[in-house]
Amino acid sequence: MYSTNGNNIPRIGFYICHCGHNIASIVDVVEVQKYAATLPGVTVSRDYKYMCSDPGQELIQQDIKEHNLNRIVVASCSPLLHEHTFRLAAEKAGLNPYYFHMVNVRENVSWVHDNKEQATEKAKDLARAAIKRVFFHKPLEKKTVQIKPDVLIVGGGIAGIHSALTIANAGKHVYLVEREPTIGGHMAMFDKTFPTLDCAACILTPKMSAVKSHPNITLWTYSEVEKIDGFVGNYKATIKRKPRYVNEELCVGCLDCIEACIYKEAKYPDEFNLGLSKRKPIYIPFPQATPQVVLFDPETCIDFKSHRCKKTCIEACERNAIDLKQTAKFEEIEVGTVIISTGFKTYDPKLSPQYGYGKLPNVYTSLEIERLVNASGPTAGEVVTRDGKKPESVGIIHCVGSRDEKSNKWCSRVCCMYSLKLAHLIKEHTGAEVYNFYIDMRTPGKGYEEFYDKFMNEGVHFIRGRVAEVTDWALVPEEENKLTIRVEDTLIGVVRRIPVDMVVLSVGLEPREDASEIRRMFNISCSSEGFFLERHPKLAPVNTFTDGIFIAGACQGPKDIPDTVAQAGAAAEALSLISAGKIELEPNTAQVIEKYCSGCKSCIPLCPYTAISFKEDIKKAYINEALCKGCGTCVAACPSGSITQNMFEDEQIFSEIEGLLKFAGIELEEKEVEHA
């Protein structure tokens, strides 16, 4: 057990951090330190350059021992950042870590105010409130829960695939759930990858088949997470497996059924090729699709519409794999951790009508060009315009749907590099004059600037200017029957009109449309642009605010392939949790004080986790601590004040309020110190 250092009389250690200049440049830390020293209960008051550093922590530990401190208050950054650090420091010195309280004078004070005097006043108030609050702190025991070893990964793009393999190779079981009929994500659509220009399929397909054949991976494609409940270490998920109308176990991917389909010609737009080619109602997304299983599109299959098809496909299947009566299946699984790697979507350039996408046929998105230049794409790698002509000149417009207040404010990070790649590939395939229109060229990364340099030497035009419009009206004869790009060549300061045969819009990366639903389902947050929010950009980049839920890849923000793969860190985090076997949770649970509870049942329906039940034998409410997650709603609602919450007791909050308001010029009576 921890020493309480004779906690009947609080002996408080108060520490304020300079955080270099971060705090000290706005808050007069010495003044706060001196002021705190005058407050009742404060035994030691210090200011220090970096409280979170080792010497800073040692300072606290030494004081605990030397001055017999039994309460610690540190005024520094946000508790979301370093509360844990300081608790640990106190614990190491033998003090129960819950005798510690943190004051946020950085994010809440020095970073958001510029009036030094007022900021210092505010810091003093916050310090006083905390000092008053710790009088009522109590020693608490941490709560630990077991971690189930299985992992759920949502999204089978390169991020999900890589994480799945990492975890599976470590001997843990993975459920990989992918919405589309195949894994591979956006990367499977690419021809080459920058900056090495190696073939995307050559890197990706071996990994895809490794996923399929790995004994530790259960792969569910064409499936979605329907529901998830529970808490870290103990999640229960329901996976909906949409019907493919083909038995996955039986289908070997021979594709005879596709051949046999009564539609002799493919006539429906192929999703994987973005509509640049056609498919039949029974199809496989692309030759290397994993798993190699065909599926039906009930929207276009005659039998689904009229029930009058000859069903030649069924006849053709030797393994009797086709089952037109198949329905959705639901799988229930229990996992300890979840990795969300749902990726991104590209900006819809129809929202920027000045570029004519959807109206002018020879305006393409970069993703469409990826398919066009791809040897296994709709044109077998031949770059031709929609009217079948080889373009003589091509304009690539950067930042479409990026760096624009009207669409997306952010830089999508990958467009400069993939535009360079496409410029090269188009030039290679067609020999056309290629123009790149960019605002700023962003090539930070290993080998990236060299990549840029190479294509400048290849004779690609680089025009610094954001294109105002792509139009089909001609001002001069050379523009007749061409697409004209109007742009200011800002490095020269002259407006130019450049006629081209093909325009490529380098569309930016956006959150998926349903990111918000996923966020709600998994109880995580999104940042303002809609990408999932990491717990901390540097200290916990793949963690979320919900324990046991990690994020990887472009669902967290635009990322290229190397960075996405590097985020297999999410897998490492999951593995480290699994190998620890258990996790400590905040002991901020609520309890009913049995002797005071009148059994009014007001609290029972309030708990979203059904942690509160009514004990029929004694006619009183009871909180199951294992289920309680510490929101405190029942505490606030208990009409007779008979529920308390650890770490957020009424007395603690009342004292915090009083502590804060003493600056109002009202001397509130110091509360009598009460202890259990």
Binding site: K595, Y596, C597, S598, G599, C600, K601, S602, I604, P605, L606, F614, K619, T633, A636, A637, C638, P639, S640, G641, S642, D650, F654
Partner: protein, 324 residues
């Protein structure tokens, strides 16, 4: 036999019901009068202030003061009693929490006087005559007590040792209190001499309360036929029971009326009204602001409903006067 302990009763701003409750002891009053000397009880016996002033300080064992403090005279008497008594007990809701009189704290003193002396429909006061605290009559000054700006609980004026809650306290509680006093085994100072759990605990309808009270409407008792068996909250009637100290043995509920909160909150609650509000509102079913709003129209007077006996003792104490 040594002198019997001396006991006093006094009333301030109250209805007299508390005095009545003493008589409600019935034959037990003989037990009380047998055990103590009642040295001061203006409602029943003719004592003058000067008689009390003559007593030695601390010579009364205990005085039970009922009623809230609204005038200077009540204040003066409270102080006098404090000086003469070893123990002062705030008797009944008014002394304890301000009681019904403290609902006047929803208004300014001037508003009250104006209404009483000129605006009330039964009043004709064309000359706008208002009571004076001092006037000359036949060459002599006559004074009246000052009407204070706020209604106070007894402990907001003097130091109070114990509280006997209720409007009025039940004879059972009074008897227990007297016996406790006489036993000499005194509870800690400041104690409320009633159980420290809420009324539901002793409510006969407790078992009929569903696990999930989800309010879809609020009705006032006169608007419906109340089921005599079923929990009132389950019927949509605002019952203060869950936020009110037990001890009355659910008198009102037995009369098929909801608890209106006269025993005040439990010791762990600072503000009874805020707590019942929190509890009831948390369990409203509606989610949209419009729906919630419509539902809340069923509680037209939240202050009067939730602070019927306790406005003076509430955190806000008094309505904020505008423009200050």
């Amino acid at each position: 036999m040594p002198d019997k302990p001396k006991i006093g009763f006094y009333w301030c701003a109250s209805c007299g019901g508390c005095e009545e409750s003493v008589v409600d002891l019935a034959e037990d009053i003989l037990m009380v009068t047998g055990a103590v000397d009642i040295v001061f009880w203006p409602v029943a016996m003719d004592f003058k202030k000067s008689d009390v002033e003559k007593m030695d300080d601390g010579s009364i064992l205990a005085t039970m003061v009922n009623g809230a403090i609204r005038t200077s005279e009540q204040e003066e008497m409270a102080r006098l009693i404090r000086r003469k008594s070893k123990i002062v007990i705030a008797y009944g809701s008014c002394a304890h929490l301000g009681g019904i009189p403290s609902l006047a704290n929803e208004f300014e003193k001037a508003e009250i006087l104006k209404y009483i002396y000129s605006d009330a429909p039964s009043v004709i006061n064309k000359e706008e005559t208002y009571p004076l605290t001092e006037f000359k009559h036949n060459g002599r000054y006559v004074t009246l007590p000052v009407f204070r700006n706020i209604v106070r609980t007894l402990d907001q004026v003097i130091d109070v040792d114990y509280y006997l809650p209720g409007c009025p306290p039940t004879p059972k509680l009074l008897k227990q209190a007297v016996l406790t006093l006489l036993s000499g085994e005194l509870p800690p100072k400041g104690a409320v001499l009633a159980p420290d759990y809420a009324l539901c605990e002793e409510c006969p309808r407790k078992k009929t309360k569903p696990d999930n009270v989800s309010f879809t409407q609020f009705v006032k008792p006169h608007m419906m036929l109340i089921d005599k068996e079923k929990c009132l909250l389950a019927q949509g009637v605002i019952c203060m029971g869950p936020a009110t100290r037990a001890g009355c043995e659910a008198l009102c509920i037995n009369g098929n009326m909801p608890c209106s909160g006269c025993f005040g909150p439990t010791s762990r609650v600072k503000d009874q009204g805020a707590k019942i509000l929190s509890s009831i509102c948390s369990n409203i079913e509606a989610k949209s602001e419009d729906e919630i709003d419509t539902l809340l129209n069923g509680i037209p007077d939240p202050v009067g409903t939730f602070y019927r006996y306790g406005l003076a003792a509430s955190l806000l104490r008094k309505k904020i006067q505008e423009g200050k």
